[in-house]
Every structure is written in C-alpha cells, then in structure tokens.
C-alpha cells in the first residue's frame, strides 16, 4: 500500500483539511505539513466551501460529522465541481459505514484519524499517484454486497452492478488478507496494476447524478424504456 509509482513534489500538492475537532485537526495538519504538503484547514462546512470557491486543492480531506452539516454534501459538491480533486474521508474507526457512504458520493480513499504521521503522508502521496487505500473489512463489505441475497445486510446503500468479476476477485483477495503481489500472481496480472484497480472499483461504486441513477435503474431492469 505504501508503494508509489511516481513522485510528485509534495510542495506542489495542495490539500484542504476539513475537521472540527481541534486536536485532531492540529495532528493531521502537522503530519501533512511536516511531509511538505501545502495544507489549508477549515473547521466547518461553510469555511470549507469558501476555501474551495477560492482555489481548487489537489486533495480534499474531510471529516463527515461537521458542526454545520455533513461531509457527504461537501464531497458530492466537490466531486461535481472539481473533478480533478482527489477526495479522502477522515474516519475515526475506518468502518464501512463512514468509508462506503463517502465513496458512493465520490471519495476514493480514507485516512484513520489516529494513523501515524508517516502513514498519513504516505496515504496522501499514494492517492495522488492513483493508488487508493482499502482495508480488508471494507473489501469484505463490498464483496458481500456483490453476492445475491434475499435482503441486503444493514449499512449504507451500495450498487455493485458495474464491478467486473476480476475486480470482485481482487476484493476477495484483499478481504482474505492476501497481499497485492499474491493477488496479482494468483489472477495472472501485473503487481503494479492492483492499486489502480482499487481506485477504479471506488469510481464504479460512485453514484454520480440523477442521469446515472436512471442508467443504473435501466441496467438493473427496474425501469423499462
């Protein structure tokens, strides 16, 4: 997970950090600033919007629970308005509730709030390089949703219809604790391509617009044209 294909100078990477808990905000800001990133911070939704209106950051890191609203709205707006901005959610537990709901609106990664500073910086660098992080429990959650069941397990809504069998195989490998190298060997693919697949999986889980919702409904046979 820590491998990065190409190194973009950290100074050229602008980050907007949205977090309402001051100690956590300081901690993350410190970790990122020490790694050389150009970090701006916002404690709530309103300031974050103002900042985004001013300049488009390369990376948006946002908590979900904010005093004046929900981070999901910010992610959706940013994804629609600034397609080049990579978005990550900041999660206390890295649980699927938080991560999946962020991914369905356009996030392509997550950071644990208590992660060590070096890990925080590495995750952002990898994301910019096109490699999204995924945990075994998130992979397990997605895979479970791909399996046909009478009633979907509780948790956020997730449409896995667009995932290819190969992508589901990769998710299974991660859920079972295999390394990217082992998964790549097992599936007969290049090891470097696995992290890229994760981002692609996240993108496919995203529900973009009303139009897309209609498209998906048609795909699943819910609507007949």
């Amino acid at each position: 997970m820590t491998s990065s294909a190409e190194q973009v100078p950290a100074r050229e990477i602008t980050i907007l950090l949205v977090e309402d808990d001051p100690p956590t905000l300081w901690r993350l800001q410190d970790a990122l600033a020490k790694a050389g990133f150009d970090v701006a911070a916002a404690p709530n939704l309103a300031e974050a919007r103002a900042s985004l209106a001013g300049r488009a950051p390369r990376v948006l890191l946002t908590d979900l629970q904010l005093p004046d609203g929900h981070g999901v709205e910010l992610i959706r707006e940013t994804r629609a308005r600034l397609p080049d901005t990579e978005i990550m959610v900041i999660s206390a537990l890295g649980d699927e509730e938080t991560v999946i709901s962020a991914i369905t609106v356009g996030a392509t990664g997550y950071i644990l709030k208590d992660a060590f500073p070096s890990d925080i910086a590495a995750t952002v660098r990898d994301l910019v390089a096109g490699h999204s992080p995924i945990s075994a429990s998130i992979a397990r959650f997605i895979v479970r949703r791909t399996q046909a069941g009478a009633e979907p397990p509780p948790g956020p809504e997730l449409n896995t219809a667009k995932l290819t069998p190969r992508e589901i195989d990769i998710l299974w490998g991660i859920a079972k604790g295999f390394s990217y190298a082992e998964i790549a060997d097992n599936l007969g693919m290049s090891r470097q391509t696995v992290p890229g697949h994760i981002k692609s999986i996240y993108r496919k889980l995203e529900v973009h617009t009303r139009g897309e919702a209609v498209f998906e409904a048609v795909q699943q046979g819910l609507i007949k044209l």
């Binding site: 808990d21 100690p23 956590t24 300081w26 901690r27 629970q65 999660s91 206390a92 537990l93 890295g94 649980d95 509730e97 938080t98 644990l112 709030k113 208590d114 992660a115 060590f116 070096s118 890990d119 945990s135 075994a136 429990s137 397990r140 009633e151 397990p153 509780p154 948790g155 991660i174 859920a175 079972k176 604790g177 295999f178 390394s179």
Partner: protein, 639 residues
C-alpha cells in the same frame, strides 16, 4: 410361463423389438400347447359299458318311413313335438337273472326320449329339466320293473323327440344289470350335470362379489359389466327350458339364449379392465347379436329363437372370444401381469372347446354330441376369480407401500422444515447481530472513537504524556477489534485475520518492524460454529504476541504464518507468530508484564479450546496457536 427378465435400462429399439417378438412367440406357444391339450382331453373317449349289453339293432320309423338303424343315429329336426322318431328293437332277458335288477341306460340323446319296455313306458326324459337342454349331455337311466320282463326277447321302443335347433340324436343304448350300468351313468352325471351346477354356483358368487365391488366403485365400469355377465350366466343355468312349460315362456327363452349378451359383457369387461379406451362407436356393436336374439325371443316364436341362436348367437360368441383373446394377449405382451396370463389361458380353453363343438354340430368331425363350451367356460371363471384376487392383493400391497412411502416423505418434509427453520433462525440471528453492530459502530464512531482520537492528538502535542497516547491508541485498536469481530464472517476466520493484518501492519510500521504474512492456501478451515467472542479471543492472543515483539523483544521482523494440517482426525488450523527479537525466559519473575501477558494468552486459548505453545530463545520468540477442530459452544472459563 417364464417371464423374461426385464433389462435394467431402456433397451435400444431393435433389442426391444426382438424382446417383444420373443415374448409373443413364447405366449403363442403356450396358448398352442393349451389348445392341443384341450383337444386331446376332448377327444378322449368316455368309458363305455361292456359291448355285450349294447342294443344296436333298431328299426326306425320316422315320419311315415321305416328303415333299419344302427345307433348312434341322427334324425332331422321337425316342427311338431307330437311326431317323434320311433326306434324299435329288442333285447334278451333270462329269468335266471330275475334277482339282479335290469336297467336301460341312454348315455346321450337330443332332445328328449320316452322309453317303453314291452309296451310300458318306464322313462320320459322331458320331465327332467336338465335333460331338456341340448347344451348339457345329460344321461338317463331307468330301472325296468322285473314284472315287465319275460324270458327270451323283450321289446324296447324309444321315442325320440326333436325340437331343434340341432338335429335329433340317439347315442348307443345299453340294457343290462343295473349294477354294471349305473356307474357309467353316475360318471356322466358328475361330469355333465353336477360340475356345471357347481360352476354356475361359483358364477353366482362371482356375480355377487363383482356387484358389491361395482357398487363401491362406480367408476370401475369393468366390474359392472362383468357382474352383469356373471349374473346372466348364473340365472340361465338354473332356468327351466322351454319344453318344461315355464311361467313366462318368452322371457325364459330370451334368458336361455342370453349367451351372446353374456359373452359381449365379458368382452366389454376385457376392454375396460385391460386398459383400452372404450370404443364409443364400435363398442355397442358387440351387443347387437345378443340383443337381436333376445328381441326375437321376446316377440317371436321359440323355434325361430333357437334357429337364430344357432346361426347368429354362436358366431357372435365365437367372435367375442376371438376379440377377447386378442385384447388379453396384447395386454399380456405389454404388461406381463398374472391376470392377463390367466385370462388368456382361460379364453384359449373356451375357444378350443367352442370350435370343437361347432365343428361337431357342422358334422366336420365325428359327432358324439358332447358339448364342452359351457363346461370349459369354467376355466374363464376360475381365471377371473384368481385374476381379481391377485389384483386385489396387489392393490393392498401397493396401498401398504404407498403408506410407507408417504410416512417417509412426511418425515423428510418434517426434517426439511426443521432445517429450514433453523436456517431461518440463524439468518435472523445474523441479521440482528449485523443491525446491532451497525448501531454500535455509529455510536462508537460519533462518541468514544472521536474522543480517543482527540486524546491521541493531545498527548502527541505534549511530549511528556506519551503513555496516555499509547493507551488511547490501544483503546482505539481494541474498539476496532470489537466492532470487526461482530461482523458476520460466516465461520471464515481468514476474513477476521485479514482485518487484523491491516491493524497489525499499521501498529508495526512506526517501529520499522516488517510484517511477513504467509497464508498457505487454502488458509484455515471454515468453522460454522465460530462466534464473535471466539474471534476476539484469538485476535487478542495474536495482538499480545505482536505487542510483546514490539515492546519487550526489540524485534526487527514479525512473521505470521497460517496453515491447515491434515491428519487422521481431520483438518486442524494453526496460526504461528514469530519474531527475531531477543526472547525471554518463561521462568522469569511472574510479575513482569511479559509473563502476565503470557498467562493471559494461555487463558484465552483455553477458553476457545485452542492450544498455545510458546518457545523463546536468544534468536526470537515463537507463539504457536493450534486451533480446535471445533470451537466450544459456551464460554466455560468466562468467569
């Protein structure tokens, strides 16, 4: 007959055809054998009294003409009952024989005789209803009163009455001691009078049984028509003939000539019973000859009725029997069941007899006026009785089998229902757990989780409180473990270990310790009985091992190896955590944190039924966790 063994699978068409052909040949050969046997028995001459008692030379006066006649002899049918053919002869008697009574014995005649000795009538067969029926070869015997006889030649006059439909016939006549003649008479009586009565009684019983059967099962019309046939046969056997001045002569003669209707009923039974559909258009046609004869009997004269019976009724019966033979033979070919075979043989016996009788009446074979059709019909009656009983027993067996089958099915259904109920319960339990987990996760995330993160962040700003930060981080890690272990992993411990791998790697990375992860495919066996608390215990053991490697051993590498060992007892999962640290001695002071951690690990392993092996030396420490074959249900050591 040997029933050919059925092949296990459906044979190929040519093989099947050959099979069917061989079956047909076997069946036909059996029927031919029966027919030959019948002919042999029918042509067997009946025992006759000694020839010295024979009165053979007669002068016959028939319709004004007189000629010499040697018995047996035929006279043509005539219209009048008052104009018999008169046979006049004589026999010698000696007074020395006055002690032994003498008799006149007439083995066979059609249709009626009056016997006179020396001008005195000693026998009139027309008073015997059985003797008046041409189809029964009723013999007659009459004792000659000794007072009538005189030494030397005695006159014997026999008047032969003929009322059709066949010509008159008088077989050989014997006169002699009653002692030597009577047993021949008795033998014929048994064969031609008593036996038919016995079979008619049997037919009556069959009629009753079949009527009851049909009353209870109206849909089985086969039993209804067969009951009608049996009733007709039984009734007509005990009816007086037209000569006996019956009360309702028309009805009487109609019933007497009901044999074509009876045979049509038996044929209808054959069609229905052996599974052919009743032909709606042609079916009623089989009753037509019988109905015509019956109508003529009701409204025409008796002579015409008898003629019609001979020329329409008998061919109809023959045709019915032929059709029945075909149907039964076809059924035997198709099903090879006992009723078909029995009835097939019975029909062959009757067919042979009726052909024999017809040929006899037509004069194509030597004619002794012994008709066997009615007698041989008893073979069909026996076949019907045996066949029905066989079917009945078979049906009972099937009912028993069906009941047993039903019981088995019921049990299976019950078990399936139980299993599905258990499955449903399990699903509900899993869903409830998942809902609970989601709720807990949300609560922890919003509350405790965020607060712990704040503590970590604050402790990092204040360099003096590193311990607080470590504690908060450990609390966060444990929080994630608790949430993770509540997820439904379907007994696949590999899924829980994968999540732990993420957390362990994150824990080791800041200390620059590499985590070597080696899972030998296919990983661990699936444990359907695995519960969240088992998962927590196992993960905490592994956490403890990793924490020891970080805190106390100063290791550079931690290796985790997961494999399944197969032995005679089945599969057994095994997880090994080893480090390359400086190790420790298990005999060290028990109050040291490492020892306390070790005791904890042992306790946790015991609660899960797992075995923990620990070996430590200067080159590192290895913790080997041997998982149980089956995780225990309850947490016995929880207290």
């Amino acid at each position: 007959m040997e029933v050919p063994a059925r092949p296990a699978g459906p044979p190929s068409p040519p093989l099947r055809a050959r099979h069917a052909a061989s079956r047909l040949v076997q069946y036909l050969m059996l029927q031919a054998l029966i027919a030959i046997l019948c002919i042999f028995v029918l042509r067997q001459p009946l025992p006759e009294p000694p020839s010295n008692l024979l009165v053979s030379s007669f002068s016959l006066s028939d319709r004004g003409e007189t000629r010499r006649a040697t018995l047996p002899d035929f006279v043509p049918t005539r219209a009048s009952m008052k104009d018999p053919a008169v046979f006049t002869g004589s026999f010698a008697w000696s007074a020395r024989e006055a002690d032994s009574g003498w008799s006149v014995y007439l083995p066979r005649f059609t249709n009626g005789v009056v016997v006179l000795v020396n001008g005195v009538e000693i026998l009139d067969s027309r008073r015997d209803p059985s003797a008046n029926r041409a189809d029964r070869a009723t013999p007659e015997i009459a004792v000659i009163p000794t007072t009538l006889l005189h030494d030397g030649a005695n006159a014997l006059v026999i008047r032969l009455f003929v009322w059709g439909p066949i010509s008159g016939f008088l077989d050989k006549v014997y006169v002699g001691p009653d002692a030597s003649l009577r047993r021949y008479y008795e033998r014929r009586t048994l064969l031609f009078v008593t036996l038919p009565v016995v079979f008619s009684a049997w037919q009556g019983i069959l009629a009753v049984i079949l009527t009851v059967m049909w009353t209870m099962r109206r849909a089985d019309t086969a039993y209804g028509v067969l009951a009608a046939a049996m009733a007709l046969g039984a009734i007509q056997a005990f009816l007086p003939s037209a000569i006996d001045q019956p009360k309702f002569p028309e009805l009487n003669s109609t019933l007497l000539t009901a044999a074509p209707i009876e045979s049509a009923c038996v044929l209808a039974f054959g069609i229905r019973f052996f599974g052919r559909r009743w032909p709606r258009l042609l079916g009623p046609l089989i009753f037509l000859p019988g109905v015509i004869v019956a109508l003529v009997g009701l409204f025409g004269n008796p002579v015409l009725t008898r003629q019609l019976f001979l020329y329409l009724g008998v061919p109809a019966i023959l045709l019915h029997l032929l059709l029945l033979a075909l149907i039964v033979g076809w059924s035997e070919m198709r099903r090879q069941d006992v009723p078909s075979l029995l009835l097939g043989c019975g029909v062959t016996v009757v067919l042979t007899s009726i052909v024999h009788d017809v040929l006899e009446v037509a004069g194509l074979i030597s004619d002794d006026r012994l008709f066997f059709t009615r007698l041989s019909y008893s073979a069909v009656l026996v076949a019907i009785g045996a066949g029905l009983t066989f079917r009945f027993a078979q049906a009972l067996n099937r009912v028993d089998g069906f009941a047993a089958h039903l019981a088995i099915q019921l049990r299976e259904a019950e078990e399936k229902l139980k299993a599905s109920f258990a499955r449903e319960q399990e699903r509900e339990r899993a869903a409830a757990l998942a809902r609970e987990r989601a709720r807990l996760m949300r609560d922890l995330h919003d509350g405790l989780g965020g607060q712990l993160v704040s503590i970590v962040a604050l402790s990092e700003r204040n360099t003096g409180s590193a311990g607080i930060g470590d504690a908060a981080r450990a609390a966060l890690k444990d929080l994630r473990l608790v949430i993770d272990s509540m997820d439904d992993i379907g007994g696949d411990l590999m899924l829980a270990l994968a999540s732990w791998r993420d957390r362990a790697a994150a824990q080791l990375r800041p200390h620059d310790i590499a985590l070597d992860w080696r899972a030998v495919p296919p990983g661990l066996p699936v444990y359907p009985e695995l519960r969240p608390w088992h998962v927590i215990q196992i993960i905490r053991i592994l956490d403890e091992a990793v924490t020891n490697a970080v805190k106390h051993a100063g290791a550079r590498h931690v290796a985790v190896s997961i494999e399944t060992r197969k032995d005679a007892g089945g599969e057994q999962g095994c997880i090994t955590v080893s480090d390359d640290g400086k190790g420790f001695s298990p005999e060290d002071d028990t109050n040291r944190p490492a020892s306390r951690g070790l005791r904890n690990m042992q306790n946790r392993a015991a609660r899960c039924g797992a075995e923990l092996e620990l070996s430590s030396g200067s080159s590192g420490t290895t913790v080997r966790l041997q998982l149980p074959r089956r995780f225990p249900e309850g947490d016995a050591a929880a207290g």
